[in-house]
């Protein structure tokens, strides 16, 4: 029997769903599964029982809590799809809106992080899901396979002055050869999970951390990381770094 899938969007940009639809293997994926609920391609009245639920987007309204509880009840396994569902996502930058990851309210069986998830990784995840296997996430951080990683010196001092390189200074691929941190540009690679194939870095932009933390939570990793480096005056006031993809769980 084909595994039944429920694919649901909460508060999100639907970027993850778009990525899903545009995956090379999407047609084959559709052949091997049975879609129960996927409003983008199919009209459905209610969320029915299924083997696997993929949930995209964060929880920003009370009603959504009941919704995901219902999803959890009717699915054998629930997976968070995309950074919003895994950690809270970009909406965390908002002052007024709530942006909670699924795991705050229900138990999840795994996650597919990324904003949106990189296609190769996403594809592998889907293959695993169809085969009733777990999703394998790297346990290392981005530096492990970073094309810019050079030798590391003891006592090297990092001073950060910029969040992004100036547009005219962006170097692509081969031209770019030095670690962003050494050039005073904040790169969250050290605290971000490996697995995205370093797309941003290859395009001359520092890592923003969308793959989420490997261990602990996003906020404490950022605080730990920044406590080691010197920030320029203006950046010290910029709190967006801490909330980029996740709000601190400190508020009860």
């Amino acid at each position: 029997m084909k595994p039944r899938f429920n694919i649901i969007s909460l508060t999100s940009c639907t970027g993850c769903i778009s990525t899903l639809i545009s995956l090379d293997i999407f047609p084959q994926f559709l052949e091997r599964i049975k879609i129960n609920y996927f409003l983008f391609i199919l009209d459905s009245d209610d969320i029915e029982e299924c083997e696997i639920a993929l949930v995209e987007g964060c929880i920003s309204e009370e009603t959504q809590i009941n919704l995901i509880r219902k999803i959890r009840k009717r699915a054998k396994r629930v997976f968070a799809l995309g950074t919003c569902a895994c950690f809270g996502g970009i909406l965390s930058l908002s002052n007024s809106k709530k942006a909670e990851p699924l795991s705050n309210h229900i138990e999840i069986d795994g996650m597919i992080p990324g904003c949106p998830p990189p296609s190769k990784f996403f594809g592998n995840c889907l293959i695993n899901l169809v085969g009733n296997k777990d999703i394998i996430l790297s346990e290392k951080n981005m530096c492990a396979n970073c094309p810019l990683r050079g030798s590391i010196e003891i006592n090297s001092h990092i001073k950060i002055t910029k969040i992004n390189p100036n547009p005219e200074e962006i170097r692509l691929g081969e031209e770019n050869s030095e670690c962003f941190l050494n050039n005073g540009i904040l790169c969250l690679g050290p605290i971000t999970r490996d697995g995205c194939e370093h797309k941003c870095i290859k395009m001359g932009l520092p890592c923003e951390g969308c793959m989420g933390p490997v261990s602990k939570d996003f906020t404490s990793n950022v605080v730990n990381f920044l406590s080691l480096i010197e920030l320029s005056q203006e950046l010290q006031k910029y709190t967006g770094i801490y909330n980029r993809f996740s709000k601190p769980k400190i508020n009860r």
């Binding site: 951080n141 492990a144 090297s156 990092i158 050290p190 939570d217 990793n221 080691l228 909330n243 400190i250």
Partner: protein, 849 residues
């Protein structure tokens, strides 16, 4: 029934194998594992193998006989398989946790506050606990045998002792269980200092159920922690039977002599070109007839004759690595430019040298040549040129020609020396207070310091021991001595006897000379103390002392009364040695409030002696030197130590080689070379700052693991009463301060839970966030004072984290994270902080509700 018939049935063998694999299996689980539906069959077989298995109230396990039988079966199997058997299974190396809990009543100190019976029942119900035992007084010798038997009978391999602070009896407990339980598997739940002594019942408010509940949670957390402890590799360290003594002053010399006579090889390392230290330049020691230099010379003579002592002068420490029993010290012997072996001490070279500079050994009162002998009783007695003076040297090389023995070698280079020692003693002494501007200090105008006065009195000094003015060499008829010149935070131990000695010395030289001794009370912090201590009618206690000079005459003005003085002596205090800060990079110790070395925090294998701990008089210095000598001898009398590495472990499967740990480690113990991370176990001190920032959790401490700490927080969060406060305390200062509050029985709210971390730098931001998430309302972080951190700058690191964290969190939480710097005796401040935070939170919670 013989053993072969018992084992003939495959079912019984299966039971035995299962028990061997799992250790302890409850009846129902056994049934499940064997796929049985009825109890009859299992009961039958269990009965048959009755002699090989035992049963306690919860599970089945193998008896000693059973283990032996299984060993034979397994060995047979391996031999049949053609394997070469070279090692045997060690039954002590069990991976299963069998946690036992001992509750010590501490002679009713515990039961006065909490109901021990209730505590025992609660602990007994904990899933991980095998057995609980209550003792009236655990530390009594008569109980030791009982405990050991209890441990053996219950197959306990991990133990929680709910009693006093680990600072009190941890060593004792480790010794009791030395050969049956690894000491990392001994966890102490501090229910005395952290619970009973600080939550004493009083009439007004205290709810007695809270201390009981706190006690329960303290024990439960300790049980959890110890059950997470993994095996730590131990190693045998052969003890190098030698000792390095840093500093060749009176303390270093006495100690070296003591050690050498006990047959220990001693390396005496002195930074300056001569032995003798400060005392060598004193005129005379109080209550001793002999002049101090004669005394020192005698000691040096003995020292030089001692075969076991090797003396390095003009030598500085470059680096120290290793651990107790086996340190490696790298030193640099600075060039002396004179070959001591060839030199006869004829001083020809000195007489021909044409450049003069102030002599630092006479405190700049007189001049010396560029090539010089520090003082006449120097050892080694040979001239030298200071390395930094070489640039002022005219390079005329006349001295070279003047030396008939060709002892002078201006091209001498510094020499690197490496020694191996078992232990080391720091005896570098302290410095003199220098900031004397407000006293109009000027030796040329007869306002001098006490060391300079010593040189004046000394027969080999500036005035050949005559009492004359420095300015015009006229006799002195009035002297004023101003006491306690220096930082007002502490008192000099010996300023009074020094003043008395000066009076004596002056009266010998000139009976008519007037000597006044002044105390400036406005500069003394503990006025009462000095007034109580001192009953000396010869001294003048004034509220304000100032010095005025007009027309070459100096006056001391004490509360508006003028005292004309030919000579004013500033009796200066000792201040911490500047080299202490450098030494901290390679030796573990912290500084106390006044900047001296803190005696409690010295790591094992390192000792200190003399005035590095603060002002100390001559007699006390000698007696501490003797004391330390005994400690060193007893340590070095063993042939080996069993040492275990307590520090970090790196999981290479998780490490992304980002190098953040390299940036935070104060000892540079971690290196990444060719995509491989490695740790220098000799350099790692186990502070855990690297573990706190590792983004992938690849680094963790092997004892204070993150898992243990997070679990402890989780268990403490079960406490019912609100608001709850969690206090992360560093092991050397914060935890000791909390203990101190207990010792002083300063009551504070039971809603504070103390988590011990090796250093505040170990605290991960995640711990703080997690605490709030789990329902704590306040977080207290108690660390050492600035500059006093045992791990050099751990307090700085947590400060950075907290500053950044406060950027992120809701403003109302900003006041709920408190960072406090305390030292080990400030228990009252600990209690104050806890109570204040508690009361604030109480208000806020009321307001919110």
């Amino acid at each position: 029934m013989d053993i072969y018939s018992i084992l003939s049935h495959p079912f019984r063998r299966k039971i035995l194998f299962l028990l061997e694999k799992e250790g302890y299996i409850p009846y129902t689980e056994l049934m499940e594992k064997l796929n049985l539906d009825t109890t009859g069959q299992l009961n039958f077989h269990l009965k048959k193998i009755g002699s090989l298995i035992g049963k306690d109230n919860k599970a089945y396990f193998l008896t000693e006989d059973g283990k032996r039988v299984l060993k034979i079966i397994n060995l047979n199997k391996r031999i049949l398989a053609g394997e070469f058997i070279d090692e045997y299974f060690d039954s002590k190396r069990s991976e299963i946790s069998r946690v036992g809990v001992i509750i010590c009543n501490c002679n009713t100190e515990i039961s006065n506050v909490i109901n021990i019976k209730a505590l025992e029942n609660y602990v007994n119900k904990l899933k991980k606990v095998v057995s609980v035992k209550v003792f009236e007084n655990l530390c009594q010798q008569k109980n030791f045998e009982k405990i050991r038997n209890w441990v053996k009978d219950n197959f306990i391999n991990k133990i929680v002792i709910a009693a006093c602070s680990p600072k009190t009896h941890q060593n004792l407990f480790e010794r009791i269980f030395e050969d049956i339980i690894d000491h990392t598997n001994i966890e102490i739940a501090n229910i005395r200092e952290q619970c009973c002594w600080v939550h004493q019942p009083n009439d007004e408010q205290n709810n007695l159920s809270l201390p009981l509940e706190k006690g329960k949670l303290l024990i439960e957390a300790a049980v959890e922690r110890v059950s997470f402890q993994k095996k730590i590799k131990v190693k045998r360290v052969e003890i190098e039977k030698s000792c390095a003594v840093l500093g060749g002053g009176i303390a270093g010399i006495t100690l070296s002599l003591n050690l050498a006579r006990a047959g220990i090889k001693v390396y005496l390392i002195e930074k300056s070109p001569t032995l003798g230290g400060k005392v060598a330049r004193w005129h005379r020691i109080h209550n001793m007839g002999d002049c101090s230099i004669c005394f020192i010379s005698e000691l040096i003579a003995e020292l030089v004759n001692e075969k076991n002592i090797k003396i390095f002068t003009n030598t500085e420490i470059e680096n120290v690595t290793g651990e107790v029993g086996n340190f490696t010290i790298n030193m640099i012997k600075k060039p002396r430019y004179v070959d001591v072996k060839k030199c006869t001490g004829c001083k020809q070279c000195i007489s021909v040298c044409s450049i003069e500079k102030p002599n630092q050994y006479e405190f700049g009162l007189s001049n010396r040549k560029l090539i010089y002998i520090p003082f006449i009783h120097s050892y080694p007695y040979a001239p030298l040129i200071d390395e930094e003076d070489l640039k002022n040297c005219l390079n005329c090389r006349i001295c070279e020609r003047a030396c008939i023995n060709k002892a002078i070698d201006l091209d001498q280079k510094e020499e690197r020396i490496e020694i191996k020692v078992g232990t080391k003693v720091i005896a570098i002494g302290s410095d003199f207070y220098k900031d004397l501007e407000e006293y109009n200090y000027n030796p040329k105008k007869n306002i001098i310091t006490s060391p300079e006065f010593e040189r004046l009195l000394s027969s080999d000094g500036l005035t050949d021991g005559k009492l004359v003015k420095i300015s015009d060499k006229k006799p002195i008829i009035s002297i004023s001595i101003i006491q306690e010149v220096g930082p007002s935070k502490y008192l000099s131990d010996f300023s009074e006897i020094l003043a008395e000695k000066y009076i004596e010395d002056v009266k010998i030289r000139n009976p008519h000379c007037e000597v006044n001794v002044f105390y400036d009370l406005s500069r003394l912090k503990d006025k009462d103390e000095i007034l109580l201590r001192s009953t000396n009618p010869k001294f003048i206690y004034a509220n304000k002392i100032s010095i005025k000079s007009s027309k070459d005459i100096n006056y001391v003005i004490a509360d508006n009364i003028e005292f004309q003085s030919d000579l004013i002596v500033l009796n200066i205090k000792y201040i911490p040695n500047e080299d202490l800060k450098n030494l901290r990079q390679y030796m573990d110790f912290t500084l106390d409030n006044n900047g001296f070395m803190s005696v409690d925090t010295l790591a094992s294998g390192i000792y200190g002696v003399g005035t590095i701990f603060g002002p100390l008089n001559y007699n006390s210095t000698i007696s501490t030197a003797n004391n330390v000598a005994l400690k060193v001898i007893s340590l070095l009398s063993k042939d080996y130590l069993i040492a275990e590495f307590t520090g970090i472990e790196i999981d290479e499967n998780k490490c992304g080689l980002c190098g953040l740990c390299l940036k935070i480690c104060p000892y540079n113990a971690i290196t990444i070379e060719r995509d491989k991370i490695s740790i220098d176990k000799f350099k790692c001190k186990g502070g855990g700052t690297c573990a706190s920032i590792c983004p992938t959790n690849a680094i963790d401490l092997n004892i204070d693991t993150s898992k243990k700490i997070l679990r402890t927080i989780k268990i403490f969060s079960k406490f019912r009463s609100n608001p709850k406060i969690i206090a992360f305390c560093c092991a050397s200062c914060g935890y000791a301060a909390a203990d101190n509050a207990g010792l002083k029985k300063i009551s504070y709210t039971p809603n504070v839970f103390i988590v011990r971390v090796p250093c505040t730098g170990r605290i991960d931001t995640n711990f703080i966030i997690k605490s709030f998430e789990l329902g704590f309302d306040g977080v207290m972080i108690v660390g050492c004072r600035q500059d006093a951190c045992r791990y050099i700058d751990g307090v700085k690191k947590i400060e950075n984290k907290i500053r950044l964290l406060k950027n992120v969190i809701d403003p109302k939480y900003k006041d709920r994270i408190i960072l406090k710097h305390l030292n080990a005796v400030e228990g009252n401040k600990f209690a104050d902080t806890a109570n204040k935070l508690y009361n604030n939170l109480l208000e806020e919670i009321k307001y919110e509700a």
